[in-house]
Structures are given as C-alpha cells and as structure tokens.
C-alpha cells in the first residue's frame, strides 16, 4: 500500500517538476524575446515623431487684422504658429545644451549662423541658458502674395532666463521684450530668417480685478466686510487624494459639506492633482466634476480654496508653459465662480526646493502666478508654504500668505510673531493638525485625548490672534496612497489619524474645538 502511494507520489513529483521546468523555460524565452522587442520604434527612423506634439506651449495670441499683402487664413496661421513656437523651443534647447540639434529645421541658413556664434561662444565659456518664453502676442504686418514670407511683431514677449556658468547660477533675466520677426516657408517648414529684438517694452500692469474677496490692511474682506476665514482641508473619507476618480460621490460630499457648515466653518480647501486632471490638456470630465463640487459648496454656503498642481514636481523651465496651459483651462473655466475664495498655486512647494532647486521652484511660482492673474483677475491667489520660515517668499506676488504648521504647539506663538512682523499681507494658517495615532510606532503615546488637547490650545490661539485658519482634516482615513507620505507603514499609520471624525464619521474629542 505505502509502496504504491510512494510510487504515485514520485510520479506526481516528476510530472509537476517537469511542468514547472517547462514553465520556467518558456518564461525565460519570452523574457528574452520581450527584451529584444523593446527599444527604438521603426517609425523613429523618419523622425516624424520629433516635435509632433507641442513640446512648448506659451500663451500665443495672433492679431492678423491689418496685414499688408495677401490676407491670412486661420489655417495658415496655425501652421506658422506651430513652427514659430518650435523655433523658440529649439532655440532654447540649443542654448541650454549648447548643441545645434534641430535648429536647422526652424532657422534659415543666415539666421543659423548668428545663433551658432552665440552657442559656440557659450560652449567655450561653459555658459548655458535655461529659459522659456511665457506669452506671445504676434501682430502680423506683412504676408507675401505667394504666401511664403511673413513679417510680424511679437509684442511683449514675456521671457524668463537663468544664466549658468557650469553649475553656478550667475543671473536670472526676466523681461518683456518685443521681437520683429521675418519667417519664410522653405521646403515645408516656416523658418525664421530675421529676428530683431526691439527696445524693452513695459508690460501693461494687470488690472486688479473687482472680486467679492479683497485684501486690505492685512485683512481679508468679503463684500467689504472683514472676513474671518474658518476652514478645513477636505478629502472625502473613502477616497482621500483621489477626489475626482471613478468613485466620485457627490452625495457623500453633500453630507460632509453640511457637516462642515454645521460646525460653523465657512471655507474648505480642496486639491486638484495635476496629472490626474490631464496636465496641459485638462480632461473636460474632470473639470465637470470639479464644477459639481464648487456648485455644491456654493449651495452649502461654503467658500473654497482650490489648490492646484498637486503632485506636480517637474519645475523644469521648459515645462512651465505646459503647467500654464493647465492653469489656463481651470482658471478660465471658473474665473467667475462665486464659491472660489482663492487659488492656491501649489501645496508646500518649499519641500521641492532641495530636490528641484529653489530658483526653479520660485521662478515657476512667480511666472505661474503672473499668468493666473491674467486668467482669473477677480480671484485671490496664495501659495501654501509648508512652514512659516518659507512663507516669506513671494510676498509681493500673492494676495495673502498661507503657511502650514505641524511643529509642537509651544513654538507657534514665537513663529507666528516672527512671520506677522515680516509679512505685510493677511496670514492664513492653512494647515495644522495632530494625529491621534497611538500604537506600536509611537509606543502608544498620543491618542485622541492628546489630539483634542492640541486643538483646544490651537482654538484659543486662533481666537486670541484673530487668525484665519484651515485645519487638517475632516476624517480619519483607511488608506494613504504611497505618493503622499511614502511607503513606510509608520508614516502611513500616523497620517491616517489626523481627522476630527473617525473613519465611521463619529466625532473624536478634538471635534469640540473645531466649532467657532
């Protein structure tokens, strides 16, 4: 009997091991084949891919109402615009790398000579330029009868340029200049033949809008009444950091917003993830969802601070124009939405200073704010700095200064005093809070009582200083995406318990101190 069993066992073992061996061999072969199939696509030979999608999207507005010569059609303008912007792009790329790749397609021979001289000189001196243009307003002056020569004046080209020697940043040039440009159609490409920088023009100051929210004397005003911003950072309990996904649940939001209003708060802060919304080509369905949220807030009499560019982290100067198109889509759509209190350009951008370069981040914020002002002149703009020390940057650009505070409460008074003395604009404590996590990772310290204690002190401090605030956050969360705090379980565990309400929606002791 046992002998027979043994035999069966060996048989099974043999067959199974044979099957496993085969599977492994097949897997190995397929991996090798898959590897051999990766790499350059054959269509890449034609270089048709190159620059097919617009790699560079500054705001460009054509005026071709008064053209001498042949009249211009929008189709012709599209082709010219495409090549003109690509000319700027390849020029900037060439000046950054000091290589001439691509410029032959967008500059005629004689223009190329001039560009080449500066590239060679800079290469010799190890100077390179990181630059972008942000807006163009070409006014076409002349179009030849045969449709192959065009002259226009590109007015008030807003440019940003970092000048490097090796790795040292020598200078930042920000200017608004006018160029007179002659382009020619040669073998299917519109190429720049002449380009002449005209004397600097002062950019017309963006007229300050007349929105319902205004800033006067370090205070926020709503319809000419002093406005005490009492708010909370909001994510739905079930879908934190994924508010506009497939599980978009307006009903639950209506309940949540009612709860927030019921606590006596008047504002929520929500986040618009950059990539999820489609980067430079914002997805209309996402905008529709955002509009529903804003309409709901309006209905529940809540104001909204909309934080843009969540999880954006590129900041490369040549990528800026894409982010501007993203902002344009959003801001032009909601420029008159009555629920919006302010646009928060980016959440905690100072955390990217180290990895992306403080100059890149600050330059991006500055230019983005300038662009945003043109799209939504009636709304306020702020930046959500991660700590009071960072909140001193860009004071001139923002309407009010937002900072986050997660340091121990004891240090708040001194930090606030410091900031209040330095800043001449309204201050908003845009995020603060404490996790009620109590467990293995902090040796069962903390807990709900400690959290409530913290918020009691914050409550008093806020009232004493008449400080506008937005607490973090409404709910405890079940799961935290890795992109938020990384993958370490102790961080995630900590982040899950910042809520005033439990995952079931029950108030925690701290909720007492959220009512004002």
């Amino acid at each position: 009997m046992s002998k027979k069993l043994n035999k069966t066992f060996y048989r099974i073992l043999l067959i199974v091991s044979f099957l496993i061996l085969n599977a492994l061999v097949l897997y190995g072969i397929s991996t090798v084949l898959a590897f051999l199939n990766t790499g350059a696509d054959r269509s890449g030979l034609l270089k048709a891919e190159q620059l097919r999608n617009r790699p560079y999207q500054p705001k460009i507005t054509w005026d071709y109402t008064a053209v001498k010569g042949r009249s211009l059609h929008p189709e012709a303008i599209r082709a010219i615009e495409d090549d003109y912007l690509k000319a700027w792009y390849v020029k900037q790329r060439a000046l950054q790398s000091n290589e001439e790749e691509g410029i032959a397609d967008y500059f005629t021979d004689s223009a190329r000579v001039k560009l080449r001289k500066i590239i060679r000189e800079n290469k010799k001196k190890q100077i390179h330029l990181v630059s972008t243009s942000l807006s163009h307003q070409p006014r076409v002056e002349f179009f030849s009868e045969n449709g192959q020569l065009l002259v226009f004046t590109d007015q008030a080209v807003s440019e940003y340029q970092q000048v490097f020697k090796g790795k040292n940043l020598l200078a930042i040039l920000e200017d608004s200049s006018t160029y007179q440009v002659m382009m020619m159609l040669e073998d299917g490409f519109w190429r720049i033949r002449h380009m002449k920088r005209l004397p600097d023009t002062t950019k017309p100051k963006q007229e300050k809008g007349s929105g319902v929210f205004q800033v006067k004397n370090k205070k926020l005003y709503y319809q000419d009444q002093a406005f005490f911003l009492k708010g909370i950072n909001y994510y739905p309990q079930k879908t934190p950091w994924d508010m506009y996904g497939d599980q978009f649940d307006l009903k639950q939001m209506a309940i949540d917003f009612g709860k927030i209003k019921g606590l006596g708060l008047n504002t929520i802060r929500i986040f618009v993830p950059y990539e999820d919304f489609g980067k430079e080509q914002v997805r209309p369905e996402k905008l529709d969802k955002l509009e529903k949220v804003l309409n709901l807030a309006k209905q529940k009499q809540l104001f909204v601070v909309v934080t843009l560019f969540d999880f954006y982290g590129n900041y490369a100067v040549l990528d800026w124009t894409h982010t501007h198109r993203h902002a344009e889509s959003l801001l032009t759509r909601f420029k008159d939405h009555p629920a919006i209190l302010a646009w928060d350009v980016k959440n905690e951008p100072d955390l990217d200073f180290e990895s992306r370069g403080a100059n890149n981040v600050k330059g991006w914020l500055k230019t983005t704010i300038a662009q945003m002002r043109t799209f939504a002149p009636n709304h306020l703009i702020t930046v959500g700095w991660s700590k009071p020390e960072a909140a001193i940057y860009l004071e001139q650009e923002v309407d009010f200064v937002s900072f986050h505070y997660y340091k121990p409460f004891a240090q708040l008074a001194a930090d606030y005093k410091m900031l209040n003395n330095l800043i001449d604009k309204p201050l908003v404590l845009q995020e603060f809070g404490m996790s009620s996590y109590s467990g293995w990772f902090n040796f069962w310290q903390g807990g709900k009582k400690a959290q409530a204690d913290y918020h009691r002190k914050m409550h008093d401090f806020i009232l004493q200083n008449d400080l506008s605030f937005m607490a973090w956050t409404l709910y405890d969360f079940d799961a935290i995406p890795r992109s938020v705090v990384g993958r370490w379980p102790w961080r995630k565990a900590y982040q899950k318990h910042f809520g005033f309400f439990t995952t079931q929606g029950k108030p925690k002791p701290a909720a007492t101190y959220l009512t004002y």
């Binding site: 001289k117 045969n146 020569l149 000048v163 040039l173 200049s177 002449h194 380009m195 004397p199 600097d200």
Partner: protein
C-alpha cells in the same frame, strides 16, 4: 570725476551702435552709489567698451535677439574695469540688454540699442512671386526687397528702395520705402501675355534681373474640324481632328501644352477619349477608322473651361461582298479574297468573325485575321460530327450567312 575712453579694436572698425559708460565714484565708495550711464544714440561708435570702476570682480550679462552671454572685463586699471563686447554682440542690431553683476549682487541693468551699419555696402535680398501669372487675373505678382547691412541686419524703416520693371516697351521706376523690414511692389498682371523684367536697387547695390511671366488666361469656346482621306470604315485609315486656335478672353493664344480632350461617341453610345495638347493654340488628335459603318459624334473640351461644337463623321461600309467556298469533302472553309471599295484586297490582318451554329447553339466562334485577303478554316469530323450547320461571317460591316452540308 567722469572720464570716458574710446577704444579701437585691432584695426578694424565697427559701425554699430552706442557707447555706454558706467562710471563709479572713487573706488572706496560703495558699489551702488554714483552709477551713471551715458547713452549716445546719434553717433556711431568705433567700439563698444564699458568702463566701470569698482573693487569687486564684476561680470556683464548681455542678452540680444539670439541669446545671452556673459563677459568678464578685458582689462582692469586701478579702479576702472573695461569691457569689450564680442563681435557677435556688436554685429547684431537691435536692443541689447545688459546686467552688471558682482559675484552675488546685481549692480546695474539697462539696455542699449545697436543700429545697423550704413557705412559699408549694403546687401539686398529679393524675392519675386508668384512668378507665373494669368493675364488679367486678380492674383498679383509681388517683388520683395530686403535691404540689410553688411552683417545681415535689416535696415531701418523708410530706407528707400528703387524698383524698376519693364513690360513690352514700357519701363517704370518706382521708389519704395521699407517698413516691416522690407519694401515691396505688387503688380496686377496686364491682359497681354509676355514677360515682366524686374530689378531692385538700394543705394549702390542692385539685384539681379528677375522675371515674372504672364500666361494666357483660360481659353474660351472654340471650333473643331477634321481631315480624312476617305469615308470608308476600313479599320485602317486615320482620321485627324484639329481645333481652331485656342484663345483666352483677351485674344491671347493659350500656352503650348494646354490639354484638349476629344470625346468620340460611337453607334453604341460608347465613349472614347483622345487627349492632345496644343501647339501654337491648335490641338490635333488622330484615330483609326472604325471597322463597321457608323456615325461618330465628336466634341472637344479643355477640362471644364471651354468646349467645341459637336461634329459628326459618317463612315461607309468598306466591303460589299464576302466570297465563300466550302469544301464538304475536306470540311474546309475558304473565305475570300475579300475586296474593298475599289476592288483592292483588304489590308493584312483584317478581322473576320466566324460563327458556326447548330440550330440555336453556337458550336464554334472565332475571330480570324486575313492573310492576303483570305481566311481558311477547317471543321474536322471528329469535332463537328453533324451533317448540317449554319455559318455566319462578318467583316468590315459586311455579313454573310450560309448553310453547310457534310456528306459522309
């Protein structure tokens, strides 16, 4: 306290622009104090040199149309620092932006305007287009002249450019003034065909001769006629159609090579198209006579622009009788000699259609060709076992039917 210095750079002169002097106070005074900038737009400078007095090491960031570069002082004397601009900066007209920096401080910024040089011979680029025009059309021809200085900088607005053009016996000179980097002259094409010769000149520089060609406009309706040696449908002779001289509305003969299509409609309402292009306004098309008597209706047209009158041609039958001898013993059929309208033998290869029928069923069908006006066919007994057949012969419009009887 203020001193200015002018430097000549290695023997060759530059003709751009402006001079800028930055003069600091005494070397002990702080950098921000007492900076004065002098700009002189009226007088072309021999060289571009900046003079700066400071203790710290300084550099100058220069931005023009094509890019930005950084230069360091070429010379340092006591409290003064001299900058010499590189050639490619000096040679590019337009606004030049500068920033004067110390290691960690921006001291001064501003811009100067470099103007094109007018002292050296200028260069003139000319473009003419469209070069081919229709007489009297609305499409204009345009001559564009782009005068630049020796360093390829477009000259300022209102630079005079003289354009001369000649058509037939007329020579016209016109003085234009540049704006938007160029000067241009448009011409509405005359109603006569011919060539316009152009030349542009700016100061002492003249362009090459340029031509724009005026071609005839679209042709108007025309007539056709034909030539043929005889009117018999012999499938051999050639008929030739020709158009009247095709002209446009102004009486200009159309360009050689204008394509004319001749559409032939035969007795079965089938169309045949023959294309021919014009030479001196006349297009000629040829076709072989049909093999059957019929009437052709021919009309010529230039694609959707102009057409001719329809012309009818009648072709008579070329053969009246088909002689046939059938040898029942050898089962061989001898057709011919087939003779034409003058009793001549029909041409070699004339097609003869042969059909052998048994009651309603066709058992043999062939298209034979004549040799020496004859056609021979055999109907072997093993393939055609029956005794009686009906035979039908057709050639050049003539038809003959006969009964075949075999005796075996």
């Amino acid at each position: 306290m203020m001193k200015t210095k002018l430097y000549f750079h290695n023997g060759f002169l530059f003709f751009y622009g402006l001079m800028l002097w930055l003069l600091f106070g005494a070397c002990t005074s702080p950098a921000a104090e007492g900076i004065e900038i002098h700009k002189n737009t009226s007088q072309p400078a021999a060289d571009l040199i900046l003079e700066v007095g400071t203790k710290d090491s300084v550099f100058l960031v220069l931005k023009n149309t094509w890019g930005t570069t950084v230069i360091t002082p070429s010379q340092r004397k006591a409290s003064k620092v001299y900058f010499s601009f590189p050639n490619f900066i000096k040679k590019t007209a337009g606004s030049l932006r500068y920033q004067l920096h110390t290691e960690n401080k921006l001291l001064e910024s501003g811009s100067l305007n470099i103007i094109p040089s007018l002292d050296q011979p200028i260069q003139l680029e000319t473009y003419l287009g469209p070069k081919n025009l229709e007489a009297g059309s609305a499409q204009k021809s345009m001559l564009i002249a782009i005068p630049t200085d020796a360093y390829d900088n477009p000259l300022p607005n209102l630079t005079p450019v003289v354009v001369t053009y000649n058509f037939k016996e007329q020579i016209i000179t016109d003085t234009l003034f540049t704006s938007s980097l160029l000067a241009f002259k448009t011409i509405v094409p005359p109603t006569q065909t011919g060539q316009i010769n152009w030349v542009a000149a700016c100061q002492e520089t003249t362009s090459n001769e340029l031509f724009s060609q005026i071609y005839a406009a679209s042709p108007v309706d025309f007539e056709i006629a034909y030539n043929q040696t005889h009117a018999f449908a012999d499938g051999n002779q050639v008929i030739e159609w020709y158009t009247s001289v095709l002209k446009d509305v102004y009486g200009n003969t159309v360009s050689d090579g204008t394509l004319v299509s001749f559409e032939i409609k035969n007795r079965l309402d089938e169309y045949t198209k023959i294309y021919a292009s014009t030479l001196n306004g006349v297009a000629r098309a040829k076709a072989i006579h049909p093999e059957e008597p019929q009437t052709w209706t021919v009309q010529a047209q230039v694609a959707n622009l102009a057409k001719s009158n329809p012309v009818q041609v009648y072709f008579k039958s070329a053969v009246s009788e088909i002689p046939v001898i059938y040898n029942a013993a050898q089962r061989s059929l001898k057709v011919g000699p087939i003779l034409g309208y003058m009793g001549q033998k029909v041409p070699e290869g004339t097609r003869v259609s042969i059909r052998l029928m048994n009651a309603a069923e066709v058992v043999f069908e062939s298209m034979a060709t004549t040799r020496n006006a004859m056609v021979n066919v055999k109907f072997p007994a093993n393939l055609y076992p029956l005794k009686e057949y009906a035979l039908e012969l057709k050639t050049l419009g003539a038809i003959k039917t006969l009964k075949i009887k075999n005796y075996e």
